[in-house]
Protein backbone atom coordinates (compact mmCIF):
# COMPACT_ATOMS: atom_id res chain seq x y z
CA UNK A 1 0.00 0.00 0.00
CA UNK A 2 1.29 3.41 -0.92
CA UNK A 3 0.92 5.51 2.22
CA UNK A 4 0.70 8.76 0.26
CA UNK A 5 -2.90 7.85 -0.44
CA UNK A 6 -3.70 7.41 3.23
CA UNK A 7 -3.23 10.92 4.55
CA UNK A 8 -6.92 11.72 4.76
CA UNK A 9 -8.29 8.57 6.25
CA UNK A 10 -6.68 8.07 9.64
CA UNK A 11 -9.35 10.03 11.50
CA UNK A 12 -12.00 7.84 9.89
CA UNK A 13 -9.93 4.74 10.64
CA UNK A 14 -9.60 5.64 14.29
CA UNK A 15 -13.29 6.44 14.52
CA UNK A 16 -14.09 2.98 13.14
CA UNK A 17 -15.97 4.39 10.18
CA UNK A 18 -14.10 2.90 7.23
CA UNK A 19 -15.40 -0.15 5.38
CA UNK A 20 -14.05 -3.40 6.82
CA UNK A 21 -11.87 -4.18 3.80
CA UNK A 22 -10.17 -0.78 3.89
CA UNK A 23 -9.75 -0.98 7.67
CA UNK A 24 -8.06 -4.35 7.47
CA UNK A 25 -5.67 -3.12 4.79
CA UNK A 26 -4.69 -0.18 6.97
CA UNK A 27 -4.33 -2.37 10.05
CA UNK A 28 -1.90 -4.61 8.16
CA UNK A 29 -0.05 -1.59 6.84
CA UNK A 30 0.34 -0.17 10.36
CA UNK A 31 1.54 -3.54 11.63
CA UNK A 32 4.44 -3.17 9.22
CA UNK A 33 5.39 -0.09 11.26
CA UNK A 34 5.18 2.50 8.51
CA UNK A 35 6.55 5.51 10.38
CA UNK A 36 4.81 8.08 8.23
CA UNK A 37 1.43 6.46 8.77
CA UNK A 38 2.04 5.95 12.50
CA UNK A 39 2.73 9.68 12.72
CA UNK A 40 -0.52 10.37 10.86
CA UNK A 41 -2.39 8.03 13.18
CA UNK A 42 -1.00 9.91 16.14
CA UNK A 43 -2.06 13.21 14.63
CA UNK A 44 -5.51 11.80 13.89
CA UNK A 45 -5.81 10.75 17.55
CA UNK A 46 -5.19 14.36 18.55
CA UNK A 47 -7.87 15.57 16.16
CA UNK A 48 -10.41 13.03 17.39
CA UNK A 49 -9.61 13.83 21.01
CA UNK A 50 -9.98 17.55 20.26
CA UNK A 51 -13.40 16.85 18.78
CA UNK A 52 -14.48 15.00 21.91
CA UNK A 53 -13.39 18.02 23.95
CA UNK A 54 -15.44 20.39 21.87
CA UNK A 55 -18.36 18.10 21.42
CA UNK A 56 -18.84 17.20 25.03
CA UNK A 57 -21.88 18.60 26.70
CA UNK A 58 -22.54 18.02 30.40
CA UNK A 59 -25.80 16.43 31.32
CA UNK A 60 -27.78 19.42 32.48
CA UNK A 61 -29.40 19.80 35.85
CA UNK A 62 -33.20 19.65 35.91
CA UNK A 63 -33.57 23.40 35.54
CA UNK A 64 -31.48 23.43 32.39
CA UNK A 65 -33.16 20.47 30.67
CA UNK A 66 -35.73 22.64 28.94
CA UNK A 67 -32.98 24.78 27.50
CA UNK A 68 -31.17 21.67 26.33
CA UNK A 69 -34.26 20.31 24.63
CA UNK A 70 -34.63 23.61 22.82
CA UNK A 71 -30.99 23.51 21.78
CA UNK A 72 -31.36 19.96 20.46
CA UNK A 73 -33.83 21.22 17.90
CA UNK A 74 -31.10 23.33 16.37
CA UNK A 75 -29.36 22.04 13.24
CA UNK A 76 -26.24 19.92 13.75
CA UNK A 77 -23.95 22.78 12.83
CA UNK A 78 -25.07 24.71 15.90
CA UNK A 79 -24.15 21.92 18.29
CA UNK A 80 -20.39 22.38 18.07
CA UNK A 81 -19.11 24.81 20.63
CA UNK A 82 -16.02 25.11 22.75
Amino acid sequence: MDHRHLDDIYELYLLGLLPEKESLAIKEHLERRCLQCLARLSEAAQTVYALTLIGWEPRPAKAARGARRRRKKQPHSDRWHG
Binding site: G16, L17, K27, L53, W56, P58, R59
Partner: protein, 224 residues
Amino acid sequence: MHRAEGTHAHERGGSGSFACQPVMRSRGNTAIHGAPALEELWRRAADQDAEAFNRIRRRFSTRLSGWVGQIVSDTRARREIVDAVFSHLRHAARPISQAGRSPEAWLALESRARAVDWARAQRGISRGARARLESLEADYSWLPTIQQTALLEERRPLISKALRQLPPSQLRLLDLAVREGLSEREIAEKVGEPEGKIQSELRAAFRFLRHRLRAVMGAWTIGI
Protein backbone atom coordinates in the same frame (compact mmCIF):
# COMPACT_ATOMS: atom_id res chain seq x y z
CA MET B 1 -10.48 28.54 30.68
CA HIS B 2 -9.42 26.14 33.36
CA ARG B 3 -11.57 25.25 36.27
CA ALA B 4 -11.07 22.87 39.11
CA GLU B 5 -11.86 19.28 38.25
CA GLY B 6 -15.48 18.34 38.69
CA THR B 7 -16.95 21.81 38.80
CA HIS B 8 -19.68 22.17 36.23
CA ALA B 9 -21.83 25.05 35.23
CA HIS B 10 -25.00 23.27 36.30
CA GLU B 11 -23.50 22.23 39.64
CA ARG B 12 -22.81 25.86 40.30
CA GLY B 13 -26.32 26.87 39.34
CA GLY B 14 -25.36 27.90 35.82
CA SER B 15 -27.29 27.25 32.66
CA GLY B 16 -25.31 24.18 31.61
CA SER B 17 -24.66 25.86 28.29
CA PHE B 18 -21.93 24.73 25.92
CA ALA B 19 -19.87 27.79 26.72
CA CYS B 20 -19.68 26.73 30.36
CA GLN B 21 -18.40 23.22 29.93
CA PRO B 22 -16.04 21.87 32.55
CA VAL B 23 -12.39 21.48 31.72
CA MET B 24 -10.31 18.75 33.21
CA ARG B 25 -7.11 19.79 34.89
CA SER B 26 -4.85 17.70 32.76
CA ARG B 27 -1.49 18.73 34.05
CA GLY B 28 -2.38 17.51 37.50
CA ASN B 29 0.33 19.54 39.13
CA THR B 30 -1.99 20.92 41.72
CA ALA B 31 -3.71 18.85 44.34
CA ILE B 32 -7.37 19.85 44.68
CA HIS B 33 -8.79 20.08 48.20
CA GLY B 34 -5.90 18.02 49.53
CA ALA B 35 -6.55 15.19 47.03
CA PRO B 36 -3.59 13.68 45.19
CA ALA B 37 -2.64 15.44 41.96
CA LEU B 38 -3.92 13.78 38.80
CA GLU B 39 -0.50 12.73 37.53
CA GLU B 40 0.15 11.03 40.86
CA LEU B 41 -3.19 9.20 40.57
CA TRP B 42 -2.38 7.99 37.07
CA ARG B 43 1.02 6.81 38.24
CA ARG B 44 -0.58 4.87 41.08
CA ALA B 45 -3.26 3.49 38.76
CA ALA B 46 -0.54 2.17 36.47
CA ASP B 47 0.72 0.26 39.52
CA GLN B 48 -2.79 -1.17 39.99
CA ASP B 49 -3.53 0.87 43.12
CA ALA B 50 -7.25 0.24 43.79
CA GLU B 51 -7.75 3.47 45.70
CA ALA B 52 -6.26 5.47 42.81
CA PHE B 53 -8.70 3.80 40.40
CA ASN B 54 -11.60 4.71 42.67
CA ARG B 55 -10.46 8.32 42.87
CA ILE B 56 -9.99 8.49 39.09
CA ARG B 57 -13.43 7.04 38.61
CA ARG B 58 -15.01 9.63 40.89
CA ARG B 59 -13.11 12.33 39.09
CA PHE B 60 -14.00 11.32 35.55
CA SER B 61 -17.32 9.51 35.72
CA THR B 62 -19.43 12.65 35.12
CA ARG B 63 -17.34 13.54 32.12
CA LEU B 64 -17.47 10.04 30.68
CA SER B 65 -21.18 9.92 31.22
CA GLY B 66 -21.43 13.20 29.31
CA TRP B 67 -19.43 11.86 26.39
CA VAL B 68 -21.40 8.64 26.25
CA GLY B 69 -24.69 10.48 26.78
CA GLN B 70 -24.12 12.38 23.54
CA ILE B 71 -24.67 9.12 21.70
CA VAL B 72 -26.49 6.78 24.09
CA SER B 73 -29.88 7.89 25.30
CA ASP B 74 -30.61 4.83 27.46
CA THR B 75 -29.58 5.51 31.07
CA ARG B 76 -28.82 1.91 31.94
CA ALA B 77 -26.78 1.35 28.79
CA ARG B 78 -24.88 4.54 29.49
CA ARG B 79 -24.02 3.35 32.99
CA GLU B 80 -22.92 -0.04 31.67
CA ILE B 81 -20.68 1.57 29.08
CA VAL B 82 -19.04 3.82 31.67
CA ASP B 83 -18.54 0.76 33.92
CA ALA B 84 -16.97 -1.14 31.04
CA VAL B 85 -14.60 1.73 30.21
CA PHE B 86 -13.37 1.98 33.81
CA SER B 87 -13.08 -1.78 34.04
CA HIS B 88 -10.91 -1.84 30.92
CA LEU B 89 -8.87 1.05 32.24
CA ARG B 90 -7.45 -1.34 34.85
CA HIS B 91 -5.73 -3.23 32.02
CA ALA B 92 -4.88 -0.21 29.91
CA ALA B 93 -3.48 2.13 32.58
CA ARG B 94 -0.08 0.50 32.82
CA PRO B 95 0.77 0.22 29.08
CA ILE B 96 -0.53 3.74 28.45
CA SER B 97 1.61 5.06 31.27
CA GLN B 98 4.63 3.09 30.07
CA ALA B 99 4.18 4.59 26.59
CA GLY B 100 4.12 8.05 28.19
CA ARG B 101 0.67 8.75 26.75
CA SER B 102 -2.48 10.39 28.02
CA PRO B 103 -4.98 8.16 29.84
CA GLU B 104 -7.52 10.97 29.52
CA ALA B 105 -7.33 10.80 25.73
CA TRP B 106 -7.78 7.03 25.95
CA LEU B 107 -10.85 7.48 28.18
CA ALA B 108 -12.38 9.84 25.62
CA LEU B 109 -11.73 7.62 22.61
CA GLU B 110 -12.72 4.43 24.40
CA SER B 111 -15.98 5.95 25.70
CA ARG B 112 -16.91 7.22 22.27
CA ALA B 113 -16.09 3.91 20.59
CA ARG B 114 -18.19 1.89 23.02
CA ALA B 115 -21.06 4.36 22.76
CA VAL B 116 -20.96 4.32 18.97
CA ASP B 117 -20.93 0.52 18.93
CA TRP B 118 -23.98 0.48 21.20
CA ALA B 119 -25.78 2.91 18.88
CA ARG B 120 -24.78 0.88 15.83
CA ALA B 121 -26.04 -2.32 17.44
CA GLN B 122 -29.39 -0.58 18.05
CA ARG B 123 -29.58 0.12 14.33
CA GLY B 124 -28.72 -3.49 13.55
CA ILE B 125 -25.31 -2.57 12.18
CA SER B 126 -22.22 -4.54 13.10
CA ARG B 127 -19.95 -2.97 15.66
CA GLY B 128 -16.52 -1.77 14.66
CA ALA B 129 -15.38 1.34 16.49
CA ARG B 130 -14.21 -0.50 19.59
CA ALA B 131 -12.59 -3.26 17.52
CA ARG B 132 -10.50 -0.60 15.81
CA LEU B 133 -9.15 0.70 19.12
CA GLU B 134 -8.67 -2.85 20.34
CA SER B 135 -6.44 -3.54 17.36
CA LEU B 136 -4.21 -0.68 18.47
CA GLU B 137 -3.79 -1.83 22.06
CA ALA B 138 -0.46 -3.57 21.53
CA ASP B 139 1.30 -0.22 21.45
CA TYR B 140 -0.25 3.00 22.70
CA SER B 141 2.37 5.31 21.23
CA TRP B 142 -0.24 6.68 18.80
CA LEU B 143 -2.19 8.25 21.69
CA PRO B 144 -1.55 11.94 22.41
CA THR B 145 0.93 12.65 25.18
CA ILE B 146 -0.21 14.21 28.46
CA GLN B 147 1.38 17.48 27.34
CA GLN B 148 -0.48 17.40 24.03
CA THR B 149 -3.85 16.80 25.68
CA ALA B 150 -3.15 19.62 28.14
CA LEU B 151 -2.32 21.95 25.25
CA LEU B 152 -5.44 20.91 23.36
CA GLU B 153 -7.57 21.68 26.39
CA GLU B 154 -5.86 24.99 26.91
CA ARG B 155 -6.40 25.95 23.27
CA ARG B 156 -9.92 24.65 23.05
CA PRO B 157 -11.34 28.04 22.02
CA LEU B 158 -9.06 27.99 18.97
CA ILE B 159 -10.20 24.48 18.08
CA SER B 160 -13.78 25.57 18.45
CA LYS B 161 -13.11 28.54 16.23
CA ALA B 162 -11.54 26.31 13.57
CA LEU B 163 -14.65 24.11 13.64
CA ARG B 164 -16.88 27.10 13.11
CA GLN B 165 -14.85 27.98 10.01
CA LEU B 166 -16.00 24.79 8.32
CA PRO B 167 -18.88 25.07 5.87
CA PRO B 168 -22.14 24.11 7.69
CA SER B 169 -22.61 21.14 5.36
CA GLN B 170 -19.21 19.72 6.35
CA LEU B 171 -19.88 20.39 10.01
CA ARG B 172 -23.04 18.37 9.76
CA LEU B 173 -21.19 15.47 8.14
CA LEU B 174 -18.60 15.63 10.91
CA ASP B 175 -21.35 15.50 13.49
CA LEU B 176 -22.94 12.46 11.88
CA ALA B 177 -19.58 10.70 11.70
CA VAL B 178 -18.07 11.61 15.07
CA ARG B 179 -21.12 11.78 17.29
CA GLU B 180 -23.48 9.38 15.63
CA GLY B 181 -20.86 6.98 14.35
CA LEU B 182 -22.26 6.81 10.82
CA SER B 183 -20.00 5.51 8.09
CA GLU B 184 -19.63 7.42 4.83
CA ARG B 185 -22.14 5.07 3.20
CA GLU B 186 -24.66 5.49 6.04
CA ILE B 187 -24.28 9.27 5.91
CA ALA B 188 -24.86 9.22 2.15
CA GLU B 189 -28.09 7.27 2.67
CA LYS B 190 -29.20 9.57 5.48
CA VAL B 191 -28.62 12.86 3.67
CA GLY B 192 -29.52 11.57 0.22
CA GLU B 193 -26.25 12.46 -1.48
CA PRO B 194 -23.85 10.28 -3.49
CA GLU B 195 -21.36 8.40 -1.35
CA GLY B 196 -18.45 9.83 -3.35
CA LYS B 197 -19.52 13.36 -2.50
CA ILE B 198 -19.86 12.53 1.20
CA GLN B 199 -16.46 10.88 1.15
CA SER B 200 -14.71 13.87 -0.38
CA GLU B 201 -16.54 16.40 1.84
CA LEU B 202 -15.88 14.51 5.06
CA ARG B 203 -12.24 13.94 4.25
CA ALA B 204 -11.89 17.60 3.30
CA ALA B 205 -13.31 18.54 6.71
CA PHE B 206 -10.77 16.37 8.52
CA ARG B 207 -7.99 17.72 6.31
CA PHE B 208 -8.97 21.29 7.20
CA LEU B 209 -9.07 20.43 10.90
CA ARG B 210 -5.73 18.65 10.72
CA HIS B 211 -4.05 21.72 9.25
CA ARG B 212 -5.72 24.00 11.78
CA LEU B 213 -4.71 21.73 14.61
CA ARG B 214 -1.09 21.83 13.48
CA ALA B 215 -1.25 25.58 13.91
CA VAL B 216 -3.13 25.32 17.21
CA MET B 217 -0.55 22.90 18.60
CA GLY B 218 2.35 24.98 17.42
CA ALA B 219 3.42 28.35 18.63
CA TRP B 220 1.88 30.00 15.59
CA THR B 221 -1.68 31.07 16.26
CA ILE B 222 -1.93 34.23 14.19
CA GLY B 223 -4.71 34.09 11.66
CA ILE B 224 -6.49 31.08 13.17
